[in-house]
């Protein structure tokens, strides 16, 4: 269960050692854009030591690795971190299925070299190019390791040659396409960060939009945004109460041998039951709901 994913720069000890107290469901230890090329070696050693030593209890650990290119940084990243069994690897600038498979094959090499079961570490590809967006469904189904996808709008809008705005109309297509592709492949999907760290209202509005489109959660580049994201992506007490009512009436109908049932004048069909189950599963995972 992830509502929020917080980026932490991989070469910053102060941020890394506080990663688990910032409230995020997942932390993304960044070896890519947050680290300059001449500090890549230092960052991957620091991140390796951090996940080996620090107790990120209750926090999923995601490592954002460098793009697959001639530098070979991405392989060195995997060599260092895979033996520590992070939950997920986030490959960047993913453009198609073969890109994911290339990363997955090398992960398997490292896993075997370290006596690990192949497939132990999962993948959350970062889609941040127009080609990646167009290939979202094939990326989502490219490899059994892929359990989620993540939209990165900053690089995407640069690739689209347009300006990134707070309203986000320029990424409306990419958002919808990503959600549809991910849901069709039955994986989770995460929205791009809201980059104005001082605009709390804007963050909440952007998170609500992402939730309304079907995203599972949202990433953040600022610890300040984590609680707002968690709040938006948590079920409300009203939603939980309704979900319980739905499941109760379905059980009752089954016991009475009824086919169709209604609640508060509305027909209860399979999608409503599925949504009720999802709400209660999320509530159980976070230990309750939030006020509407």
């Amino acid at each position: 269960m992830r509502r929020s994913m917080l980026f932490l720069p991989g070469n910053n000890p102060n941020m890394l050692q506080n990663g688990d107290i910032l409230g995020a469901d997942a932390i993304i230890l960044d070896l890519e854009d947050a680290v300059s090329p001449d500090e890549k070696d230092a960052a991957r050693i620091l991140v390796r030591n951090a996940i080996r030593t620090l107790d990120y209890q209750g926090c999923e650990i995601i490592i954002r690795i460098n793009a697959v290119d001639d530098t070979g940084f991405w392989k060195e990243d995997l060599d260092e971190v895979i033996p520590l069994k992070p939950d997920l690897i986030m490959p960047t600038k993913v453009s198609g299925a073969e890109y994911v498979r290339q990363v997955s094959r090398y992960m398997e090499e490292v896993e075997r070299r370290n006596g690990m079961e192949p497939g132990t570490v999962k993948l959350i590809p970062l889609i941040e190019t127009t080609l990646g967006v167009e290939n979202a469904f094939e990326i989502a189904r490219s490899d059994p390791r892929v359990v989620a996808m993540f939209l990165g709008a900053e690089d995407l809008t640069a690739d689209m040659r347009c300006v990134r705005t707070k309203e986000g109309s320029e990424i409306a297509y990419a958002r919808s396409r990503m959600v549809s592709a991910a849901r069709a492949a039955e994986i989770d999907v995460y929205d791009t960060p809201f980059t104005d760290v001082n605009d709390d209202e804007g963050l909440v509005a952007d998170a609500r939009l992402a939730k309304s489109l079907g995203f599972s959660g949202k990433a953040s580049i600022s610890p300040r945004h984590v609680s707002g994201i968690n709040q938006v992506f948590s079920p409300t007490e009203k939603e939980i109460a309704y979900a319980r009512e739905v499941l109760a009436i379905i059980e009752e109908a089954k016991a009475q041998g009824k086919g169709a049932v209604s609640l508060h004048g509305k027909m209860i069909d399979k999608p409503i039951v599925t949504r009720a189950q999802q709400v209660l599963a999320m509530a159980a995972a976070i230990g309750g709901g939030v006020q509407a």
Partner: protein, 89 residues
């Protein structure tokens, strides 16, 4: 591992440690400045020495300025500085 040149790693920011490593004169010599020297100085020096030993470094001058780094950070910065210093000059 043989050191071939001077190299550094880390920063002087809070919770970090700045480590410089250079070829020595037949032994591992460690100089430490730390904001917590009174409480943890000998322990930090021992940590630095154990990282050098783990990498097979027997001949080095290592100087470090500590800003309250955790053990895992100290180990990371020393390892990085030594590996950088071991690259061909």
């Amino acid at each position: 591992m043989k050191l071939n040149r001077s190299a550094a790693a880390g920063t002087l920011e809070s919770s970090d440690i700045y480590v410089q490593a250079a070829p020595g004169k037949g032994q591992v010599e460690i100089q430490l400045e730390s904001i917590v020297y009174q409480q943890f100085g000998p322990s930090i020096v021992e940590t630095i020495r154990s990282v050098a030993e783990g990498l097979g470094v027997t001949d080095a001058v290592i100087s470090a300025v500590d800003r309250g780094a955790l053990d895992c950070t100290i180990r990371a910065r020393v390892e990085t500085a030594l590996k950088r210093a071991a690259k061909e000059a």
